[in-house]
């Protein structure tokens, strides 16, 4: 039995949106190379502050980690920030046609990296909000 679904292999071999955004509005980094997976997501937000106009990522990791990053970037690109924040790990795994059980936790970090990038953007844009929340 192959280790990964066809969809995972497709995204692994032909990852979408690999790269960096030099003037990104938000950057999110999760994972640790010591554990084997690390992802950095870059986002560009529309001037009205509503839509994710562009997403790029760089990932160090296994086949699942690369496929997850690619899938998350595809799922969130062009969506509103509100919609993008609703993307969960399980949704990503489902879209990929499933992931091996042992990869569900360690490699399935794309949604978290995206959320961190959005939070980074919000922190920069509305520094006062952070204080309100706390």
């Amino acid at each position: 039995m192959p280790l990964y679904s066809e969809k995972v292999m497709d995204h692994f071999q032909h990852p979408r949106n690999v790269g960096e955004i030099p003037d990104a509005d938000g950057i999110g980094e999760v994972g640790n190379p010591v554990c084997g997976d690390m992802m950095t997501f870059y986002i560009k937000v529309s001037p009205d502050g509503k839509t994710l106009e562009d997403i790029k990522f760089k990932t160090f990791g296994c086949g699942a980690a690369i496929a997850v990053s690619s899938m998350v970037s595809e799922m969130a690109r062009g969506k509103t920030i509100e919609e993008a924040l609703k993307i969960t790990r399980d949704m990503v795994a489902q879209e990929l046609g499933g992931l091996p059980a042992n990869k569900m936790h360690c490699s399935n970090l794309g949604a978290d990296a995206l959320r961190k990038a959005i939070e980074d953007y919000q922190r920069k844009k509305y520094p006062e909000r952070k204080n309100e929340k706390k």
Binding site: E20, G36, C62
Partner: protein, 411 residues
Amino acid sequence: MKEIYLDASNGTPLDERVLEKMLPYLKEEFGNPSSLYSLGGRAQEAIENARKNVSELIGANPEEIIFTSSGSESNNLAIKGVMLSQNKKKHLIVSAIEHFSVLHPARSLSRLGYELSIVGVDHQGYLNLAELKNALRPDTALVSIQYASPEIGTIQNIAEIARIVHSAGAILHTDAVAAVGQIPINLKELPVDLLSLSASQFYGPKGAAALFVRRGVRLLPQIEGGIQELGRRAGLENVAAIVGLGEAARLLKQEMSENNQRIIALRDRLIEELPKRIDYIYLNGDPKNRLPNNAHFSIEFIEGEAMLLFLDQEGIAVSSGSACTSRALKASHVLSAIGVDAALAQGSLNFGLTRYNQKEDIEQVLEKLPPIVKRLREMSPLWSHFQKTGERMVAGPGTDYEHGEDNEQEK
């Protein structure tokens, strides 16, 4: 697409000639070796012939060979069998780079009231002999040290280790699963007390292995309830596989040195050429004193499973010591023991050649791997950080880039 198999440490292909010898015992010669009629007698004879061949490969006496089902079983039998037969001595020593089939039974014993010491290794994987001497105690019963590492290839100085262990009055077991059939071992001259070997590592079938137990060494059987193997390992014998083990041993006794000349030339081509085509690649283990068929590298800024999958797309089968490729999701304990940084260990690739490999196979690797590395680095945040700043994003404890660069200069 031609499949290129370079994963000998996970098992070698079955020699056609070995298969031919096995087939009758899967067909008409199906007798139980313990049965008294002729059919059983012929099976018994086949097993004893295999025992003779295995003993001749390693310079043992036939009655010193116990057949088992796997290298892991041999290691378990050695560790538990020796320790559980001891009346007073409750201490055992293993190295930090042992196979899990040594480490885990040793840890199990330590939970049952035995005491375990784990001795470290140096950058090339050689056992720290001073540490071994310090660890030895009057109540040390057993020391178990791998003969050669299936991962990083380094061959231990077992003769010197045996001298140290024996002078402290302890028994020495060596897991030689990766070594037997790859390098000559003569137990007439090498005073180890127990030695594990497995047919799956030298062109024999899976399911047949052996433990050499020198005459006079006490061992408590781990599988009981039958007279097989002189009561030391009960259970109906896997006759065909044992016949295969014997035949593989017989053939290697004749062919090993010829095989090795070819294999070493191919292996050295990988070791010399890959660093010319890939930057930031480090050879692990001793560059010279290593298993003839082993080349093990850590490639920086990328992860092993991703490399392995892309190589698989090209028909090339290798293994990796990355966390992602292990079921336990932990990077190789061997790489950690030799001081390879935990992030760097993720990018390791283990090439294990067999005698069936051709020059073209190696050329394929040399052609296909560099673009895979380039592609994965272009995706890697660690690589882009390094490109922009000239600094490594992470350098955990034990980071040993300098050592890797030393290796490179030696070539």
